[in-house]
């Protein structure tokens, strides 16, 4: 095990942000912490990286007790935060230099050059960071996180606020780093497609608790049955079906779609239906099943991006 977290809890006053969670990550895995805003992802990451002290619990990184021996543990971690944290007044190269020397690497030049070339940003080495695009910044931050050859790369929402193309490019960067450089990855995200695409295993976290922990395909098999989403004019009773209801919106789990769909339409009444939608197994359904909520409502998404922009400027 590269990372193992046991009964980890963090309280801020009376509020429990992370509630007694346990998980472990094997060497070479990409492990995802998936959860909505405020679930406790960043708090968990900060405890693992030694930025805040847990209220209780244990963290072991590559055999080292991170709470008793934080400096030794920190040598094994490469970290990238959700907000971009770079020194705007310095060049790409100078940012690399600070990072390397904080890790006490005196002869960092060769390694830094190799990493910048690997991520295709070596041409910008002499540019001030303030001139870089968001995508290049992310690449630089990942390169910086790899300068100490970490045992585990910890990425907090690596693709937040990126456009679809840049997001896809960054997925590739993370996958390549994982496959070619053999670095274990822990990432957090609230994008289902991202978790599905990248992660070997996913822990779903909600209100500070881990409510499921498995591979994406197993999660889909276990919890991701097909659902029917029906909007009706009048309220209905759907006897014999498992469903969730919000106003006149019904999300109904079905086992045998072709059979059930006609039954449900009959139950609801053809004239009563405003719209009908079939959702095939996906992590979205898994999340919905487990929490009764959709993970990313448009509104929270945009306020969050706004918040991140505000705090990073």
């Amino acid at each position: 095990m590269i990372l193992s977290v046991k009964n980890l809890t963090k309280k801020f006053g009376d509020f429990t942000a992370v509630n007694n969670i346990s998980f472990s990550i094997k060497k070479g895995e990409i492990f995802g912490l998936l959860g909505p805003n405020g679930a406790g992802k960043t708090t968990t990451i900060k405890m693992i990286c030694g930025l805040i002290k847990p209220t209780s619990g244990e963290i072991t990184i590559d055999g080292i007790n991170a709470l008793e021996n934080p400096l030794e543990a920190k040598k094994l971690i490469g970290w990238m935060s959700a907000e971009s944290i770079l020194d705007e007044d310095l060049t790409v190269w100078e940012n690399m230099e600070v990072q390397a020397k904080l890790h006490n690497f005196n002869k960092f030049e060769e390694k830094a050059e190799e990493l910048l070339k690997y991520f295709d940003i070596y041409n910008f080495a002499k540019n001030k960071v303030s001139n870089l695009s968001t995508g290049m910044r992310k690449k630089l931050e990942i390169a910086m996180a790899l300068i100490n050859d970490p045992s585990i790369l910890v990425l907090d929402e690596p693709t937040i606020a990126l456009d679809p193309n840049t997001r896809a490019a960054l997925w590739e960067v993370i996958e390549r780093a994982n496959k070619e450089r053999k670095v274990t990855v822990l990432l957090t995200t609230h994008y289902m497609d991202e978790a599905d695409r990248l992660c070997d295993r996913i822990a779903i976290i909600d209100h500070g608790k881990i409510i499921a922990n498995d591979s994406p395909s197993n999660l889909k098999k276990k919890y991701g049955n097909t659902t029917l989403e029906i909007k009706t004019k009048k309220e209905v009773e759907l006897k014999g079906y498992e469903y969730q209801k919000e106003g006149n919106n019904y999300i109904i789990s079905v086992k045998d779609l072709s059979n059930d769909i006609s039954k449900i339409i009959k139950l609801v009444g053809e004239n009563n239906i405003i719209s009908i939608n079939v959702n095939n197994p996906s992590l979205d359904n898994v999340f919905l099943r487990l929490t009764g909520r959709k993970i990313s409502e448009e509104k929270t998404e945009s306020t969050k991006i706004y918040r991140i922009l505000k705090s990073s400027r």
Binding site: L71, D89, V98
Partner: protein, 256 residues
């Protein structure tokens, strides 16, 4: 704690100083303002009176060591502003994710502040001399001056850094500076000699490190004798504060 870590962060501070046009401008303009306005304020006093009050016929010569020391009082504010900025933009987190102890960023900010002050020292001297201050230059007087301003810079940068250690409010350094600058300035011999003070102020001035720095430099520049006790006093202050930086920096900056 590793010197390499402190040094690379200090290098970052240093680059930030010389890459900011406004910083350079201020480093140049501030000493000029001090000297022009302070130096001219008592310029018309009769020479005999100036000689009696200030032990020199030239008020500018009297005030120059005061300005050199006041410069070191001001840099504390910049050291602490720089630390708070790093907290605000998350950069401190980037530092603390590396295997770094909390005193490391604190010492780098202290050195950054000290450097700002030391850059101003030659500028103050040149402007002062150009304006007509007479200085008794010798190796020993220059060494005494450097030792005094360095020790004073360490002390005052530490005072600011320690007072703002736990805040990320960018207004804090300004507030603290307006709270402590005037009491420190006027309870020292930087602008007026202590024989003009009421007794309570004179007592206060004996605890003010500014007094000792000013008097050391003034005695050296005006050709009066050197007082080792004053230097020891400044040294003790600086050591105490370096020690506090170490203890409190490690305690409060190592994790949030």
């Amino acid at each position: 704690m590793s010197l390499q870590q402190i040094f690379v962060l200090y290098k970052r501070e240093f680059k930030k100083i010389y890459r900011s046009k406004y910083t350079i401008f201020m480093l140049l303009i501030q000493p000029l303002m001090w000297l022009v306005f302070f130096g001219s304020s008592l310029g018309r006093l009769p020479t005999a009176l100036t000689q009696e009050l200030f032990k020199t016929s030239n008020y500018l010569s009297f005030i120059l060591p005061g300005v050199l020391s006041l410069v070191m009082l001001f840099v504390g504010m910049f050291a602490s502003m720089s630390l708070i900025q790093d907290k605000r933009y998350g950069y401190l987190r980037r530092i603390m994710v590396a295997p770094v102890n909390g005193e490391v960023p604190l010492f780098s900010k202290l050195l950054g502040g000290l450097t700002r002050g030391l850059i101003e020292v030659p500028i103050v001297l040149i402007i002062g001399i150009a304006m007509g201050a007479s200085i008794d230059f010798s190796l020993s007087s220059v060494l005494i001056m450097i030792a005094s301003v360095v020790l004073l810079g360490i002390t005052f940068s530490s005072v600011f850094l320690l007072l703002t250690l736990k805040t990320s409010d960018l207004q804090a350094p300004g507030v603290i500076s307006s709270l402590i600058l005037f009491p420190l300035m006027f309870s020292s011999t930087a602008i007026f000699p202590s024989n003009l003070f009421p007794s309570w102020l004179e007592l206060l001035s004996k605890f003010n490190p500014l007094t000792y720095s000013v008097d050391l430099i003034r005695n050296a520049f005006l050709g009066y004798s050197f007082n080792l006790n004053y230097l020891i006093f400044l040294l003790v202050y600086a050591i105490i504060f370096l020690f506090l930086d170490f203890i409190l920096g490690r305690k409060y900056l190592s994790s949030e």
